[in-house]
Symmetry: C2
């Protein structure tokens, strides 16, 4: 453990008041390394950037010096010279109901991992949705701090997207641009996941399989509903009148919708939901009525949140890690300007079968 002296030293480094310190523990530069290795500055630069240019012996000597000094190229200087920022920015959307919050945490972490593999850093901002958010991105772009923006959860007519493109800021979306656009995007194929859920319900003998989603003209919910309906059509099962919608995305909404469906003459025995939260509501109603979820009733959520895992709720999982990797790929392409190919990806979601 360092005492007061160590603490002072550490402070100095940060302040940059290096003049006050003995020459030897200044931050090493290319020249420091060059001097130690007995070569010129470019040779050091080359040793790190394109080692193949050096004679094996020189290379060894230079790398030893680098190692000994703990030298690392100054990223600001490098960015200045190379004229290309090496970062990308995103934010964690503020999810009020927050059951999904963990999803975004996993997404950004995965994104950071995938990007760092190709030498791109991830900068995080907090910005309210809308104008402020975009202004912040454009600002970062103008300052050459970032070379692209990863935008989450795009809406049907997303002003953010329009504004960013107007400012010529490269963008990659996590989520589909529901109104057509030629941005690069990655999204989860919710429809396929929901269809799988429906088929599983059918396998277990359910004939009246309901869909519970949120507002009808939300792209995400509609996509999932499509999966439900097409699966039912394929299985030759009824779907008319079996879809219900409610907002907000809450346990109460789920409970309300489920109660409504159960009170009908031809009650459904399976509920495929657009979110885990809605499914929780269904679960509570089913239990209240003395019915056994997983036996008499099937309940399937969406997102495979920790809550679902904790309660044994079956749920459709977004393969978030793969989404993050794909976003990283597209970011790389966007930055490099690889036109054409691979402008977007739809990652299949899969059903996690649990008790319900």
């Amino acid at each position: 453990m360092l005492g007061a002296a160590g603490s002072v030293c550490l402070t100095r480094v940060v302040e940059g008041s290096l003049a006050a310190r003995s020459g030897s523990d200044r931050r090493p530069t290319v020249d420091t390394v060059a001097a130690l290795a007995g070569v010129s500055r470019q040779t050091v630069s080359n040793a790190l950037r394109s080692p193949s240019l050096l004679a094996p012996d020189t290379l060894r000597r230079v790398l030893a010096a680098v190692d000994q000094l703990g030298y690392r190229p100054h990223s600001g200087a490098r960015a200045l010279r190379r004229q290309i920022p090496t970062d990308v920015v995103c934010r964690i959307p503020h999810v009020e109901d927050a059951v999904n919050a963990s999803l975004y945490g996993a997404f950004v972490t995965g994104l950071a991992a995938a990007l760092s593999a190709v030498g791109i850093g991830l900068r995080l901002v907090d910005a309210d949705w809308g104008e402020h958010e975009v202004a912040r991105y454009i600002d970062l772009y103008r300052r050459s701090e970032i070379s692209a923006v990863v935008l989450s959860d795009p809406q049907a007519h997303d002003d953010r997207l329009t504004a960013l493109r107007a400012a010529a800021v490269p963008v990659v979306l996590y989520g589909r641009p529901w109104a057509g656009s030629d941005v690069r995007w990655v999204d989860v194929d919710g429809a396929a996941g929901v269809a799988e859920a429906v088929r599983w319900c059918a396998e277990r003998g359910h004939r009246r399989i309901a869909y519970l989603g949120w507002h009808e003209d939300d792209g995400v919910s509609r996509d999932r509903e499509c999966g439900w309906r097409s699966a039912l059509e394929e299985l030759d099962l009824p779907w008319d009148g079996l879809a219900a919608h409610g907002l907000p995305d809450s346990v109460a909404t789920g409970a309300g919708l489920a109660a409504m469906m159960l009170d009908r003459a031809a009650a459904s025995t399976a509920f495929v939901c657009a979110t885990d939260v809605l499914a929780l509501g269904v679960l509570s109603v089913v239990r209240e009525r003395g019915l056994r979820p997983g036996v008499d009733y099937a309940v399937i959520g969406f997102d495979d949140t920790p809550t679902a895992a904790a309660l044994g709720l079956s749920s459709v999982r977004q393969p978030i890690r793969r989404v993050a990797e794909s976003v990283a790929d597209l970011v790389t392409a966007e930055i490099a300007g690889d036109d054409g190919e691979h402008r977007n990806r739809l990652i299949p979601a899969s059903l996690v079968r649990r008790l319900t």
Copy 2:
């Protein structure tokens, strides 16, 4: 919506092959602005950094030019010249059981907000715990990309901390350094929150109030247990034999511990738990036995996760936003080298009273 031409243009900017473009839409520099405003470069710099130095009229003219060109200082160049990186790094810990994942999401978002208010950027990394993580931080520090590290969830004898201090990297902790050290840290006063929970149970008539935590020598759990015990002593209620511990932090563990406590001769009627997950386990056992949580039995969780909110579970809440702000304050102090004062903060946790 931009067509192919727009896309090409956009690509060019990123690639930095600016030579190919007409002079007018090159990235504006200080000189561009200076020329337009009819002043020297330094005056432009001053206009943005310390406006008070300029004559009101000049200032107006310069700012107008800045605005017109959309000029922003190049952050790399600025960092290079000023010798101080303006970023800080942290990571979102990978929480396997993940009920707490949303907590960290909120924390980093809050941190990004608080830091950006003082002009510090937040960089996110993905790094496994331990050596790799530290190596990454040191690397970033050496590259002058960051000026400090925010370390989450420090353990009793945390090698990471030792290594970072050895490399003279400024650190601020979210969580207490359970083995003494002079690092700056911010933590939540879990003991106080738990004590409040205990008192609430007592108010509702419970006399045998149990504590369920994880491994006995974990600092966090022990802290919370202290709060429980001291509250009971204050209230003159029994505590001997009423604490139980289990790992991992899971619903099953909570259920197991609760079952054990309930099967005793003198069963407890209230359970104050170290996490929401444990509390969920308790809840399930209590329900299974036909007992009514919130009426016959009190169950209190910790962290106020969305799950708790969804299920009506009372829980002790970490005021995560305030924690983030405090961390930002200490980071600022650490970077500035303000010695002494305010080296750490304990933020009170508060009980969210719900059904249970």
